[in-house]
Amino acid sequence: MMKRKILTVLVAATLFSGAGIAAAQTAAAGKASDDVVKIGVLSDMSGVYADYGGPGAVTAAKMAIEDFGGKMFGKAIEIVSADHQNKADVAKNVTQQWFDRDKVDATFENLNSAVALAVQGLGKEKNKITVITGAASSRITNEDCSPNTGIHYLMDTIALGNVVGKAIVKDGGDSWFFLTADYAFGHSLEKDTGEVVKAAGGKVLGAVRHPLSTSDFSSFLLQAQASKAKIVGLANAGGDTVNSIKAASEFGLTKNQNLAALLMLITDVHAVGLNTAQGLYLTEGWYWDMNPETRAWAKRYEERMKKKPNSNHAAVYSSVLHYLNAVKAAGTDDTAAVLKKMKETPINDMFAKGGKIREDGRMVHDMYLFQVKKPAESKAPWDYYTLKGTVKGEDAFLPLAQSRCPALKK
């Protein structure tokens, strides 16, 4: 009897960790004619990154379709979306179905680096455009690049490290210790930032790797504290970053050391609260309160989602709109023709000014260094950032000449 009970618990525990069956909310397959332009938005709809992309990304894509006019060549533009649950295999299955059966022409968002690499690989194989916004691994346009189908739109680990790393070392923060999420993205972020720090004359004193979705960071922070590094770089994302910051402030780490969040969006700052997050440096590609254009767009988004958008949502909007404009200009949804147009045309919208998609698929645009405001400085909800510096796209991203993309090697 006892053994039976224990067995049941074990089975259930396994069940729990894999909870939620693939809930692809694929709309009924449209007419199978190729003259319908159909896009897919793949994201984490309910897991740790759901506020980072998720339903907000779908809303942003829908806004782009509406602003475009809703129709292409006289037919309504269709959109499908699905939850990849942060699993590369689920992402691959859904995307394959989209490409093969549902005649989806291009997919967007694709956050989570493991997902992004899987989806981009599939796009390469099927010759379909895949636009990645939320994922940040630099491999997307380097080792695993796909210049004929893949676009990396928002930021990557090299740019994040470049902006924060250089700025902080210049500011005197020349010794670093990393708190790293133990998977591809974290390692890549730690390595890229570490190189920037060293190149700028700083030192990397060490790193500690924590499992993804750790709930308690206190012991890792004690190790960071013991390192006596001036800067503790958080090479993690989402809930892990939030919990690291909370624990750091609780354990008094922020008294003698400074935190640098390498990937943190405004939705995370909102979740931590200004009391805890104040003074933190972070990099984003966009902020809602930069100019009248961004504010107007954010207001429309907020009416639908009841919260402000982050840079990822803005990037999804911009990339979908850019894609639709390119299809229109090319007069076809043929992959090669559309991609050529997308690369030829500079991007000038509320997300980026003079943005350009490079040969390797990297969209190059300005990046911004922000500091989180003190509670007293914040005048309204979501009034969180002070702009500390703008880094030109060509200085933030890896120059094309140094690209490790094999397909570009002549």
Binding site: M2, T8, F16, V208
Partner: protein
């Protein structure tokens, strides 16, 4: 400075202290599970959801009604317990005669529903809950800075655990409870209201989870996912300690917190796995758990 396997003793002491803090969380959560399992024979998979609910209730009390932390400590667990009573009265009680699997599936479903509702309402990033003013700052222990709040958590958890153990094992009420579990018919013949006992036990068990949630609110992010992050470890604790064993749950909770803390020093990458390795070994050697009795 002296070192043990290349790790300064000072750092080691700090990690052990933190292990104790986490261990007391584990102890309190697994205690609730053990009580429910011991008395009701229900594997309560909704425990993590109740823990999350406790944290959210205290956040709501603060943000919607301006109720402070101390009142939350009392009100939020009561709120959670009330939800527990409704669930026990309307759903769970029909399943006692059936195999454990049914109770497990029901509570698992309830957990997913509760989590889904909160996720829909509040998103996944969670909400901040500030530390109460009195707990800001830290004690300097020489080898580490111990935040005052963490110290309070250890004290609170251990006192609640001991009180629960005392009530169940040493008082008249506890003896009724144990009699009701051992032989419900006979106990009823002696005039004990067994169904009421059962309902109250369930309410108390989930109330403990709610209380742990309130204690966790200021240190962790109040997020719909916080329950499912911790529940698997807590189940492992209960299995290692011996299902239904109250003392086992408390001691194992503390011990595993310490072991996990040590792993974070020597091989941090394994800190999420070590608990399950121990569980596998314990099950191989003592299938009923360290403190469990073979039936």
């Amino acid at each position: 400075m002296t070192e043990i396997f290349g790790v300064p003793t000072q750092a080691l002491m700090g990690q052990l202290m933190i292990g104790l803090v986490n261990g007391s969380f584990y102890a309190m959560l697994s205690l609730g599970l053990a009580v429910i399992f011991g008395m009701l024979n229900v594997v309560n998979f909704a425990h993590g959801a109740f823990y999350m609910m406790g944290a959210f209730f205290s956040w709501m009390l603060l943000n919607y009604f301006g109720v402070n932390y101390w009142w939350s400590l009392l009100l939020a667990p009561v709120g959670v317990a009330l939800v527990g009573i409704v669930i026990e009265k309307t759903m769970l009680r029909w399943l006692y005669q059936l195999d454990h699997l049914y109770g497990l599936l029901l509570t698992f479903g309830i957990a997913l529903i509760i989590e889904g509702i909160f996720r829909d309402q509040y998103g996944v990033s969670g909400q901040p809950y500030d530390l109460p003013e009195i707990f800001k700052g830290a004690f300097d222990l020489g080898f580490m800075m111990l935040p005052k709040y963490r110290a309070w958590v250890v004290v609170a958890c251990l006192s609640v655990c001991l009180a629960t153990w005392f009530v169940i094992e040493r008082t008249r009420l506890g003896s009724y409870l144990r009699a009701g579990t051992e032989n419900p018919k006979l106990a009823q013949a002696f005039g004990i209201n067994v169904p009421l006992m059962v309902t109250l036990t369930y309410a108390f068990g989930v109330g403990l989870a709610g209380l742990a949630g309130v204690l966790a609110a200021p240190v962790y992010q109040v997020s719909p996912l916080m329950g499912s992050n911790i529940i698997i470890v807590v189940f492992a604790v209960v299995v290692i300690g011996g299902m239904g064993s109250i003392l086992g749950a408390i001691l194992t909770g503390l011990a595993l917190g310490l072991i996990e803390g040590l792993t974070k020093v020597f091989y941090p990458e394994a800190s999420a796995t070590v608990v399950f390795v121990i569980m596998a070994i314990v099950l191989l050697i003592r299938p009923a758990g360290l403190f469990g009795r073979e039936k």
